[in-house]
């Protein structure tokens, strides 16, 4: 096993190389660019036998990916922010046409004002596009999750987006262990996908779906997403067994006896853990919950983990202006609605446009959550670190 110092982006590029993809279509955008830059190196120096297409926009990148995937090729692209937003209409095509594309989305804020730093607005805006969304919060996890993503995508025939936090994960160098290449090949063998466009079959896809048919076709993608819950679990278990890992839909820290907890996605859960540890040393029963699969949303297991917990602070790094609350909060709240005894939920927004969230601010979020837990009542959403 090889151990290298890699940035999150390079770790993704290594995973894509090991997955031996056939087609890469991409357009540069910060902080994604170094993924496809590295891949173009791999292709140019012969380490990866793939067609690398420099397209003129993300709209074209995703369109080329759909086309290539429809022929049965294994396809990869990566983007961020405006690039993901510009793919918007094609994302729905990709999921409805059941193309198992894997895409890394390096999370970055959306304009205006122009901002290249990290938040989750880009991915949240594509929540309903029918893509599976996985979240990785370290370079190692980015590599591993990308390999899993190919297996999942090709098994359930849905596209998979792997999210990593811009700069915090994408550009931070960490020691990364490369999995055994032969084992990766056995885990995701390159086999031509069936039920694809073929000159022998000569059929068309994407044709008009009138009201008599559209509904059923859309439902197939919904159903595939629902059924993917079980398959992802199995595929992840297989990955864990083969590569000695312990990935799950939700990572729970100190939750066995937690009275209250912070729930978040992505790299910020790391800071939350550090703060929770120091609270624990002071005898507080604080915990941290990190959501790794955002679509399909693992609400059943979330309810299990939160059994007996009195208060949850949900930290969103995106906003839903005018909504009942922000995107992660809304999912958590509706996911837990069926619980007999629900925890009190306190909403937080933090870190928009790359604004740092300090350990003190995490401390504040824990203490507000504790207050809500004890009083049984949550206040309105708290915008952490906002200058009035």
């Amino acid at each position: 096993m090889k151990r290298l110092g890699l940035s999150g982006n390079y770790a993704v590029a290594y995973a894509v190389k090991m997955a031996d993809v056939d087609v890469i279509a991409a357009y540069p955008i910060t902080p994604q660019t170094t993924i496809v830059e590295k891949l173009s190196d791999f292709v140019a120096n012969g380490e990866l036998d793939a067609e690398y297409v420099n397209v003129e926009s993300e709209h074209s990148a995703m369109s080329a990916c759909v086309g290539a995937s429809l022929t049965g090729a294994r396809v990869f692209t990566a983007t961020s922010s405006q690039g993901l937003a510009y793919m918007h209409e094609v994302l729905f095509m990709a999921s409805a046409l059941r193309t198992p594309i894997v895409m890394t989305n390096v999370n970055r804020a959306l304009s205006a004002p122009l901002n290249i730093w990290n938040d989750h607005s880009d991915a949240m805006a594509e929540r309903d596009s029918g893509w599976i969304q996985l979240w990785a919060s370290s370079a190692q996890e980015a590599l591993d999750t990308t390999i899993e993503a190919f297996k999942i995508a090709e098994d359930v025939l849905l596209p998979v987006m792997v999210n990593i936090d811009g700069f915090i994960v994408s550009h931070t160098y960490e020691p990364v262990t490369l999995p055994d290449e032969g084992e990766v090949k056995r885990y995701i063998p390159s086999k031509p996908l069936t039920n694809r466009l073929s000159p022998r079959l000569a059929y068309s896809v994407g044709v008009v779906g009138p009201p008599e048919y559209y509904y059923e076709m859309k439902y197939q993608a919904v159903d595939a997403m629902e059924r993917s819950r079980q398959r992802i679990k199995e595929i992840e278990a297989d990955f864990n067994r083969r590569f000695g890992k312990d990935y799950k839909d939700i990572n729970a820290y100190y939750m066995e006896d937690a009275e209250y907890a912070l729930l978040a996605m992505g790299s910020m859960t790391g800071t939350a853990r550090v703060v929770a540890e120091s609270l624990r040393r002071r005898g507080e029963r604080a915990g941290v919950v990190s959501i790794r699969w955002f679509r399909p949303f693992p609400f059943e297991r979330l309810a299990e983990i939160l059994e007996g917990v009195r208060g949850i602070g949900v930290m969103d790094r995106a906003v839903t202006p005018g909504g009942p609350s922000n995107p992660l909060f809304v999912d958590v709240a509706s996911g837990l609605y069926g619980m007999a005894e629900r925890p009190v939920l306190q909403s937080f927004v933090a870190g928009l446009g790359g604004r740092d969230v300090s350990t003190d601010e995490f401390g504040m979020m824990f203490s507000k959550t504790k207050e809500a837990a004890r009083s049984g009542r949550a206040g309105p959403c708290i915008y952490v670190g906002l200058r009035e």
Partner: protein
């Protein structure tokens, strides 16, 4: 007003030796020499190193989206045709991701001047090949030589209906200034392709390359003499543009075509005197009453 008074005071953070400095200087000189009214100038830019220019010029600016500066500018111009609207963008921005809009602008011919900062690369995202980079060329960030053919903005502009087309060079601020002044004086859609060295990523298009591969037009009359002369002039431009060297100067000017503003006025008699930006949407603090009967009368049952 001197050209310095057109500086916003924000520090331009382009790399040392970047051609964008020349464009910035020439633009300010042109605005100053023409005595332009600051209140009437709007700069709209795309995303890229080029797109930063509105930060540095003391005028109204909109830093739009990658590829979308032209439709933003078109909206501004339509709503307030009294403004002088100038678009700045990179070769990637205007001729790749935003190419559809570049073509649409020519078809409409509004009085908007587009400045293409052509450095043959995507400067801001670290040197990938742009749509103007020639096939077989390998600038320093490319893993292998470019396999796409380049586009020629002058020919695309001409085919799309632009009525002013020119090419200049960022390191020759005096020449560029004169070309910008001519472009700003022209009524209709104009495009200036500015050869803009990018010393950081384009190791091919440098001063020596420009000296060897360009030539200043002399004795060339860019102006379409009569409507019957248009086709002939276009053919001459085709010949000019197929020469080995890139021609610097004003290449094409057609003063016969109606602007988009004229076309709007021809279907809406009130447009020129009362464009959208001048229309009141409130009266002494309260919104103007809208008569639903009048607006939707014919749909009512």
């Amino acid at each position: 007003m001197s050209s310095f008074e057109w500086s916003s005071g924000v520090w331009p953070d382009w790399c040392q030796g970047c051609g964008n400095f020349g464009i910035f200087t020439a633009l300010r000189m042109a605005l100053a020499e023409m005595g332009m009214d600051r209140k009437r100038v709007v700069l709209v830019s795309g995303i890229g190193c080029s797109g930063k220019i509105p930060h540095f010029v003391k005028a109204t600016g909109v830093h739009a989206l990658h590829g979308r500066s032209i439709p933003f500018a078109t909206g501004i111009k339509i709503a307030n045709p009294n403004l002088k609207v100038v678009v700045h963008g990179g070769d990637g921005d205007l001729l790749g991701i935003g190419m559809g809009h570049f073509v649409a602008l020519g078809r409409r011919n509004p009085d908007i001047l587009v400045m293409i900062h052509n450095n043959w690369v995507y400067g801001l995202t670290k040197g990938q090949a742009s749509p103007t980079l020639g096939r077989g060329i390998r600038t320093k960030a490319l893993a292998f030589p470019n396999i796409n053919d380049p586009v020629n903005p002058i020919l695309i502009g001409m085919a799309s209906g632009y009525t002013f087309l020119a090419r200049s060079y960022a390191y020759n601020a005096e020449h560029l200034k004169e070309v910008i002044k001519a472009g700003l004086s022209h009524r209709g859609a104009g495009a200036i392709e500015i050869i803009q060295p990018c010393p950081t990523w384009n190791n091919i298009v440098n001063m020596e390359w420009v000296a060897q591969n360009t030539q200043y037009l002399s004795g060339w009359d860019p102006v379409v003499a009569s409507e019957d002369d248009l086709l002939k002039k276009m053919q001459e431009v085709m010949r000019l543009e197929s020469m080995d060297k890139k021609q610097l100067g004003i290449i094409f000017e057609n003063r016969f075509k109606e602007t988009f503003e004229d076309r709007l006025a021809s279907i809406n008699g009130y447009y020129k005197d009362n464009p959208p930006a001048r229309q009141r949407i409130e009266d002494e603090g309260s919104s103007l009453p809208v008569s639903m009967d009048k607006t939707f009368g014919r749909y009512m049952v």
